[in-house]
């Protein structure tokens, strides 16, 4: 008879296999995100090879190449990657917390809150830079709190939260439109650039704040991955399993909203990335494993790919947000139709 330590039971074999698949798929997605980012750097008016990119990185490339790669393309690709990851992670944590794919922050009004705050700052108060950044983050947080407060009834319920959020989003979008109509011509352009979600202005100065906030947000949420997972079993079961449910929900919401608002303040709201990343990760990994990193990687891939298509394949310079909308819109319609068929 073999000892039990060398012979693994069917359950533990299956569990190990699931874990291995999970790591492999997540790893492949992260590699994929890096590959598309390199592609983004290499493509353009002048196409650069990997050797050019490495030369530019270690400072041995000729001036024109170095400038083009290091000053124009590299920061843009990095910002696309970082912010894509931020959108993806925030989307996943909201969707999982509320047990509803429609509960992503771009649908339930949190992005709309950041938008209103930003557009008001630009058109009414003439803010820019850090102040604008701060106000947008505040707008996202306040909206999140308002949606939670309005939908709170002995706890947080996914469906009510989604419906209240959609209502709040429409209200805030109306305010944004009103602000835009009565704004000065010059401000309208700035505000429009904010609202469409664009990487055209990405620069090195964006990389650090967005990168730090996404890294910190990821680490915080990664420590809570299992808690987030248990919360899907409902308030009572989660409490019974030792989760401080309300505290966990608040921490997850606050961390996600701060991270999301900062990336939104960096690129503007790139439509549907939050909404799409989590479900795609779940499709690839199987539904029931914490897939924060995978959702982040998919967010990166979506934004970078959309940027490549927007820059080079679409005619003229289309903002990246328009590309993601073209994909995200139909998916939203399909998912809503599916949800309605099943009953919300």
């Amino acid at each position: 008879m073999k000892s039990s330590s060398t012979e693994l039971s069917p359950y533990s074999l299956r569990r190990r296999r699931r874990q291995r698949t999970h790591f492999l798929v997540t790893g492949a997605l992260i590699v994929g995100a890096i590959v598309v980012a390199l592609l983004d750097v290499s493509l353009g008016h002048e196409v650069y090879g990997l050797n050019d990119i490495f030369a530019a990185l270690n400072g041995s490339a000729p001036g024109g190449t170095a400038f083009s790669i290091m000053q124009l393309r590299m920061p843009r690709a990095l910002v696309a990657m970082i912010c894509g990851a931020g959108f993806g992670i925030a989307g996943y944590s909201f969707q999982t917390l509320l047990g509803n794919v429609l509960a992503s922050p771009d649908i339930i009004g949190i992005t709309a809150g950041a938008n209103v705050a930003a557009v008001a700052s630009i058109t009414v108060f003439g803010l820019s830079g850090t102040a604008l950044f701060g106000v947008a983050v505040g707008g996202g947080l306040v909206t999140a709190c308002a949606v939670i407060a309005l939908s709170w009834r002995n706890g947080l319920l996914g469906t009510r939260f989604v419906l209240v959020g959609i209502g709040v989003a429409s209200l805030l979008n109306a305010v944004t439109s009103w602000l835009m109509i009565r704004a000065d011509q010059w401000d309208v352009q700035t505000a429009t650039r904010w609202l469409t979600g664009s990487l055209a202005d990405a620069s090195w100065s964006d990389v650090a704040p967005a990168g730090i906030s996404v890294a910190v947000g990821y680490l915080c949420l990664a420590t809570m991955a299992h808690t987030l997972d248990v919360l899907r079993l409902g308030t009572y079961t989660a409490t019974g399993l030792g989760v401080r449910v309300n505290r966990a929900r608040i921490v997850i919401v606050v961390v996600s909203v701060i991270m999301l608002s900062i990336v939104t303040a960096t690129t503007g709201p790139i439509a549907f990335v939050s909404f799409l990343s989590g479900p795609i990760a779940a499709r690839l990994l199987g539904n029931h494993r914490p897939s924060i990193a995978a959702s982040g990687a998919i967010g990166s891939i979506i934004v970078v790919l959309a940027d490549i298509i927007a820059q080079h394949l679409a005619s003229g310079h289309v903002p990246v947000g328009v590309m993601t909308s073209l994909v995200g819109g139909p998916v939203l319609v399909i998912l809503v139709a599916g949800v309605l068929r099943k009953g919300v």
């Binding site: 299956r14 569990r15 991955a225 299992h226 019974g240 399993l241 030792g242 989760v243 029931h288």
Partner: protein, 280 residues
């Protein structure tokens, strides 16, 4: 009466008041849950059975009085430590879409882990044992939402078994199940009590099943305990009349000797037909 010495009680209530807002449900209840026994909470709809069970599992704050686990207020203990001692299976818990049986059961190990998981051999063993005890080993990879009602309930009980708690609270574990499945679930809980010595307290609607499977019964009515004791002490014709407002005959089950409540003949189609014919 169950034994009531201090060493054999871990969970108890002292003058506990429970309710929602201004609406009182339980008023000043003293209850000691004897260790290693199976208890059943019975009572008419709305008497606070589920409310009491939730409060015992710290899912509901007390309005006044206290719920003590090992002598300390349960609300003041770290919730994760409580989760290693007291398990709760709520009524109709929400099953995430397409989760497999073994992945659901594995969630029961959550209180035994730190922040990053750190799954080890003990966890594997606990999940496997829970699957085996509930007879779900062959269904382990099936999605819970494709199972029958009885199998689904067993999957949730397996989650509680994997949690490895000394005390297990269950809110109507047999609701929505047909008779065979009801007995299957109660057999499973009895076996758990016998093999692990797990203390079980469950809300049950069926007085006959409560009598068959419980060491002791708590009957709630009008915000307090109408009766506490062994099934044969508690379940009498007077008790059924006063607590449930039902005229019944209480007999002994010829095989188990436990009380069997049969409503009087006036509550039957034949009697009502005869009455209608008489009036016509």
């Amino acid at each position: 009466m169950p034994k009531r010495s201090a060493e054999t009680v871990r969970l108890k209530t002292e003058k506990v008041h429970l309710g929602y807002g201004d609406f009182p449900i339980i008023e000043g209840l003293d209850l000691q849950i004897p260790q290693g026994k199976i208890g059943a909470i019975v009572g008419p709809n709305g008497c606070g059975k589920s409310t009491l069970l939730k409060a015992l599992a710290r899912l509901l704050p007390v309005q006044s009085g206290s719920i003590l686990l090992d002598g300390q207020a349960i609300s003041s203990l770290p919730t994760r430590s409580v989760a290693k001692i007291v398990g709760i299976l709520p009524q109709s818990p929400s099953t995430p879409e397409s989760i497999s049986v073994e992945e659901l059961v594995a969630r029961g190990r959550h209180p035994h882990h730190g922040m990053f998981g750190g799954w080890d051999h003990t966890d594997d063993t606990a999940v496997e044992e829970a699957l085996r005890l509930t007879g779900l080993s062959d269904l382990a990879t099936r999605a819970v939402d494709t199972l029958s009602g009885g199998q689904r309930q067993r999957a949730w009980i397996a989650l509680s078994l994997a949690q490895h708690t000394d005390i297990l609270l269950l809110d109507e574990p047999t609701t929505y199940l047909d008779m065979t499945y009801q007995l299957e679930v109660l057999d499973l809980l009895a076996e758990l009590n016998i093999s692990r010595g797990t203390t079980i307290l469950m809300v049950l609607h069926d007085l006959n099943l409560a009598s068959r499977y419980a060491d002791w019964i708590l009957a709630l009515k009008d915000g307090g305990a109408a009766a506490v004791g062994s099934p044969s002490q508690v379940i009498t014709e007077d008790f059924v009349r006063s607590v449930f407002r039902l005229d019944s005959r209480v007999t002994r089950d010829p095989d188990t000797g436990t009380p069997v409540v049969t409503p009087l003949a006036q509550h039957s189609l034949a009697a009502l037909r005869a009455k209608a014919d008489g009036a016509a």
